[in-house]
Symmetry: C2
Subunit: 160 residues, 2 copies
DNA sequence: GGTGAAAGCTATAGTTT
DNA sequence: AAACTATAGCTTTCACC
């Protein structure tokens, strides 16, 4: 039921490069391709693997800048917040929306063609939204990402 | 050189599910598998496709909570900032680090086992760092993501 | 650029240890 | 639980349009 070291190794490899296929994974972890295949099927079935996504260069999509919208909400009622999140994530320019504690209630990561597009996006889709009290916009100069999650559970031993 | 509609369609499909392979993609966009293969090779060579990453359930890795660390830096010298970013992204608990404009200088998305682990992480790796003036920590209650970037360039027509 | 057939490889199932 | 073998299917290449 729990993940062993080989599972964790496979997950690490696939988080960094999911193009790497069975044969190579098998060589990497020292098992036969069929065994690796069984393990991956189990990891998908268990809900440990939840998706595989291609990463695209934003510039190639005409994206000239990215920003973080830090939003304060007037009310925190569950139904309203859930509906707002649903709406937000349907906006094509939105990458992520996070509900958080602290000074702001919501952080929304958006992409835009240029500053004019960003202004329209912020004003038309967020500032003007009932329920939004205040927005602070931060331009993102640079993003560094780490694709691999750490194994923080203690149960990653030799048990399968 | 520019991307046409079919390229954009392929990218959209792969951003949402990169397991979908050649044959199915070909059926989706109405081309032969070999043509799709050629296009994808071109998109990788052009640097439009930059990676494929598996997504893993944080809970399965023993991750009990995620947080945003909003950081103010004392100085904004290029060399110092770049080095700090390099250091940060080597910390296993870090998912992303973003250099931004506005009230804060840096937003760091981290994962942790529990609040005690988060406290240790924040105090040992960030608060105590020379160059960090102040940190605000926000717990993430919920994240919604959209894996597909919008095509914002006007040149996505029938030209190849 | 796109197509279709041939070659090579990967994935899957069944069997053995 | 892992490894091996065999088959089916897909990916990739290439000559041609």
């Amino acid at each position: 039921m729990a993940l062993d070291r080989i599972d964790v190794a496979l997950l690490a490899l696939l988080q960094n490069d999911a193009r790497r296929a069975n044969k190579q994974l098998a060589a990497d972890v020292g098992l036969a391709p069929s065994s690796v295949h069984e393990r991956l099927k189990r990891l998908w079935a268990m809900g440990v693997l939840t998706g595989i996504h291609a990463e695209v260069d934003p510039a190639a999509m005409g994206i000239g800048l990215e920003a973080l919208l830090m939003i304060e909400l007037a009310k925190h009622e569950r139904a309203l917040v859930d509906r707002f999140l649903d709406e937000i994530v349907e906006i094509p320019e939105v990458r992520t929306a996070q509900l958080i504690t602290g000074r702001y209630d919501l952080i929304v990561h958006v992409v835009a063609r240029d500053t004019r597009h960003l202004k329209d996006l912020a004003l038309d889709r967020f500032t003007s939204h009932p329920g939004v009290t205040r927005i602070e916009t931060s331009i993102i100069y640079e993003t560094r990402a780490r694709h691999e999650l750490p194994m923080l559970a203690r149960d990653a031993d030799a048990t399968a």
